[in-house]
């Protein structure tokens, strides 16, 4: 099976500190991969560097065996909720319509069929009745669904989602994960930055466990073994050591 994404020996610094160190992994086309690890492990940084949103110190990134540049318009990115100005004067349908921009090219405006397609994407995420609302009027889960609809509108091959499940309701979480599974069935490749270990196994088929260095990459059940997980989270349990508990062994 061909590789949708190959990353080799990636090093990235953020604000002068190296937070992603020597990461090598590859993702097969049609997989749903979770990127997990403690706070400050460099999960978002890794994702942003993969998309060249922040510059890397060293390393090689290939999309379907080719440089990232060739595939830029076929990658949909859903940012963290905190990166968006929710007071912006834009309606739900217009946010989804942004997804059609990458392939429109310069000077071209979205057509009627683009609008219909955007409306269809809204329907997929169950938000079709909110199209005229200003985005700030929605709940966290609804906002996240709208941004997923935007990613769908892009008709991309690869999907990158940064913490899509933070601060959203259970129903929205369910909707989103089901859509991601459908995308996977269509042969799309999805990477998700995620921090809730409890659901990681049921959500993803592969996991990349990270704590600046790569701890482990493999099938979810293989990564979610206590002895593997503690390697990444060991320093968070260090308060137990004076009490005689040793979690790293």
């Amino acid at each position: 099976m061909e590789h949708a994404l190959e990353i080799e020996r990636l090093f990235v610094s953020y604000l002068g500190n190296q937070v992603v160190k020597d990461i090598t992994f590859s993702v097969k086309k049609g997989s749903l991969v979770g990127i997990i690890g403690p706070n400050g492990a460099g999960k978002s940084t890794l994702m942003k560097a993969t998309l060249n949103l922040i510059s890397k110190d060293k390393g090689d990134i290939k999309i379907f065996g080719e440089p990232l540049k060739k595939w830029k318009k076929n990658i949909a990115y859903v940012p963290q909720r905190s990166d968006i100005d929710w007071d912006f004067p834009i309606t739900v349908i217009d946010v989804v319509l942004l997804g059609t921009y990458p392939k429109l090219g310069l000077f071209k405006r979205p057509t009627k069929s683009d609008r219909e397609w955007a409306q269809e994407c809204l329907k997929t995420v169950g938000m079709e009745n909110f199209s005229g609302r200003q985005i700030g009027e929605l709940s966290g889960g609804q906002q996240q669904r709208v941004f997923l609809a935007r990613a769908l509108a892009q008709k991309a091959e690869l999907f990158f989602l940064d913490e899509p499940f933070v601060g959203i309701d259970v129903a929205s979480e369910e909707t989103i994960i089901n859509i991601l599974r459908d995308l996977k069935k269509e042969g799309k490749t999805i990477l998700v930055v995620h921090h809730d270990l409890s659901k990681a196994e049921s959500y993803f088929d592969h996991l990349l466990l990270l704590n600046q260095h790569m701890i482990h990459y493999g099938a979810s059940e293989e990564v979610l073994q206590p002895e593997v997980i503690t390697k990444a989270y060991a320093n968070q349990f260090s308060f137990l050591q004076p009490k005689g508990v040793n979690v790293t062994s």
């Binding site: 830029k72 990115y77 912006f88 004067p89 946010v95 200003q134």
Partner: protein, 291 residues
Amino acid sequence: MKMNMIDFFEALFQYEFLQKALFTSVMVGVICGIVGCFIILRGMSLMGDAISHAVLPGVAISYMLGISFFFGAVITGVLTAIGIGYVSQNSRIKHDMAIGIMFTSMFAVGIVIITFMKSSADLYHILFGNVLAVRMSDMWITVGIGVLVIGLVTLFYKELLVSTFDPTMAESYGLPNKWIHYALMVVLTMVTVASLQTVGIVLVVAMLITPAATAYLLTNRLSVMIYFAALFGIIASVFGLYFSFIYNLASGATIVLVSAFMFAMAFFFSPSQGLVWKALKARRNRAELMR
């Protein structure tokens, strides 16, 4: 008031300088409104203030050399924008600090240069505008800048919208955010130049921010916001000029005051955002619960 209105219209038909003044102010109102929308939504109000002040040395030097304000202003404006970015990216100095340092320094340099020219009347006009002295050449520069601004925003509306709302997405599909930013800085200096005569350097920022902010309170769509902002710019210019002419006041100040008045109205009475409606609604809700 009625008498004054008639006087104003009579004068408008009679005097060419007043026609030029009105035409230029309206044009400035439109372009400031349009550009202002992007300035406030990108969180660059302070930057707008900085750039508009920082054109002073460029304007002064152009004046001394006898060339158009335009070139000097664009050069110093862009240099300041680059300088602010450079200082804040390469030290622990935050963006707002860098803005404060750079624009006051540039402004001071401008004042020193103008002092050498030994003409305080010129300084006064550059700082506060003198719309009644608009020359034909100034008017054409304003028209040119207006056409350019409207053309650019129409052509690149899509790109401006994405890079303003979600710069990360814009970057991820290959839009050159950095160049869009600097292009906007260049446009900002041009708008400042266009506004020199009507409102003056010191108050340009009011024309950029106030009409756009008023529009921001009234709509949930960027395209509508742009039209509203341009409209408020026009209203401010026309009425500002009227009050300036009738009561013999500085045109810059009256134009800015009219737009501030419109902002106050929107702030209190906007159907969706207005403080008055919000308070009334809250009161009704409380009364409902008391029963």
